[in-house]
């Protein structure tokens, strides 16, 4: 992607391990940020705060995993927030109407999957650009959530669901466990299954994939469906935490999710991305927010720091990978 495409080319042995090297770069970025905050904020490295950071990163990580798959397939999904909102409000209203929890959860996930399917179908069958499709559904899905609830939050989520998505297991918050499981599943999907290869192939060279007989449409749709499903899962974690489902929930989630994936090494040109990197990227963003809050940085300066840290993380990562 740089003018030094030559440099990249002359280091093939490099490329062979590039995935893990790229992840190492992200890890170094994370370590640097953690070190800086640890020096500035007493208690930043306390176990409790670290668990906190993981918990607060879990929703973004969940979305970012789906986003990573979509990005690898050569697409982008701007509609994650509104998809999450729709499934949150539907799950919540079902629960309030007395639907058993497992059924309501399934319904919520199903809604996310359907929304994702619509995105995927518009991209794969109608042949529209992913950015513009999900920009369109970003508005459409949000409007549906608002109209469905009349703009009001749905309060009074039963404690059964709340403890499921906001409890602890052996001292680890359940959202963290859920996301870890999802991450492992995503890693297996990407690295070990034919679908993972198809995703890489479709994003890396669609023509070659087509000629090789890869089911292009099905593959793309799969990515968007997973993204929709994970957005729904993220919304369940959130309503578990907040005890309320708002139709405006998930505003600007897409930017955080894309940032996490990109920091983690996903290329928005497609064909490239790392599950581990994305998780690290989400934690970088989470640690940053946490640290800035603990430092009580004033709003304007917090915004400044957010921007600069994103840039710094990318530059550190670029430098450690040995630019050329």
């Amino acid at each position: 992607m740089t003018s030094s495409s030559n440099a990249a080319e002359s280091i093939p042995a490099f490329r062979r391990f590039s995935f893990s090297l790229r992840d190492a770069g992200t890890l170094i970025g994370l370590i640097v940020i953690m070190a800086v905050f640890a020096a500035l904020v007493p208690g930043f490295l306390s176990e409790r705060n670290l668990v906190n950071i993981l918990q607060q990163s879990s929703i973004n990580a969940c979305l970012a995993l789906g986003m990573t798959l979509v990005i690898i397939s050569g697409g982008i999904d701007l509609s994650v927030g509104p998809m999450a909102a729709i499934s949150a409000v539907i799950t919540a209203t079902l629960l309030l109407a007395g639907t058993p929890i497992p059924l309501a959860i399934l319904a919520g996930l199903g809604v996310g999957i359907v929304c994702g399917f619509i995105n995927g179908a518009l991209v794969a069958y109608v042949g529209l650009q992913p950015f513009i499709v999900t920009l369109g559904t970003l508005s459409t899905y949000r409007a549906i959530a608002l109209i469905y609830t009349g703009g009001n939050p749905v309060l009074g989520i039963p404690s059964g669901l709340r403890s499921l998505f906001n409890g602890n297991l052996f001292g680890v918050p359940t959202p963290v466990i859920i996301v870890a499981v999802v991450a492992i599943a995503a890693w297996i999907l990407l690295k070990k299954t034919p679908i993972g290869e198809y995703l890489m192939a479709v994003g890396g060279n669609e023509e070659a994939a087509y000629v090789a007989g890869v089911p292009i449409a099905r593959t793309k749709i799969t990515a968007y469906v997973i993204s929709g499903g994970l957005a729904a899962l993220a919304s369940l974690i959130l309503i578990g935490r907040l005890g309320a489902a708002e139709p405006i929930l998930g505003n600007l989630w897409e930017l955080d999710a894309i940032a996490a994936a990109a920091i983690g090494g996903a290329s928005l040109m497609g064909g490239k991305g790392s599950i581990l990197g994305t998780i690290l990227g989400a934690i970088i963003l989470g640690a940053m927010r946490n640290g800035l809050t603990l430092m009580n940085v004033q709003a304007f300066y917090q915004l400044l720091a957010t921007g600069l840290i994103i840039l710094a993380a990318m530059i550190i990562d670029r430098a450690t990978r040995g630019r050329g």
Partner: protein, 330 residues
Amino acid sequence: QDLAPLNSDTEKNRMDWSELEAKLGPFPKLPEGTKAGAVSKTLTNEYWRSLGEGYASFGKKVHVPVVYQAAQSEGDQLGQLTIAEGMITQGYNVLLVSPQTDANLQPVIEQAKAAKIPVVNVNDAVIPQAEHYVGNVQRDNGVRVAKWFIKNRPQGGKVAIVEGQAGVYAAVQRTDGFKSTISEGGKFKVVASVPGNWDRQTSYDAATNILNQHPDLVGFYANNDGMALGIVEAVKAAGLAGKVAVFGTDGISDAYSSIKAGELTGTVDSFPVLTGEVALETALRLVAGQKLPRVVATPQALITADNLSRYQGANVDVRAVLMEDAKAAK
């Protein structure tokens, strides 16, 4: 252009809503076919929907059709401008606007002036060139909560603020009112004042982090109720329910329920429905040719479990209660 820039909180040429009838007489007769247009920030927040209800109910009472529109999201500055400009071309007799920012509806003021349509700036952001403003004193929201702390937590302690979107008028004023008032006695310390971006989730996370560092915190003040309800959950999750007071702003219905349930400590209700009614009344009086002061102040009250029943309930006439309050204040 010769009008001094408006500061709705300090403007001298003002009147309390309760004096409208007393000073200007009964509601006048309007020209035939009068219709009003109203533009607000967003409908995704209950506050603005309630304001619209106020417009509608007063419009119905005096048989004036009111069209109420809102931008697609908070922060959609140009979209809101487009809507308001459209209303001028469509020939409404009066406009009520609640701008996204201080400046984004400025052209509307100019165009309306040219078209001889009165414009009333209703609440929140303040257009400097506005000739008429109806709304509460934003700064006072924060002041009232600070006073509660000073009165009810005489030993002082640590408090934290969760702010709205950086740079938005209401957020700045409310925060400032709280901060300056609570710092006065020197007993309280504002240990954190962090952005919550009007967002429940962000506020939840911020509150969790703050509680982590300051488990001995006395209370939170949030710039709106949605954020406050997020904070309440964070306080509960941290096992500090009952120990940390949480205040919101706006008085949305969920805030009332939460106060009733003993979770949220209080909210500063600015009575959007009533504000809507007063604003439309003011606007229509202008249409009828009456002269009004530049600012008509609307009421607000700190609602806690102690006084909640006075302001909400099946047989409560909020208008009457507030009228009483106003009389008492004098």
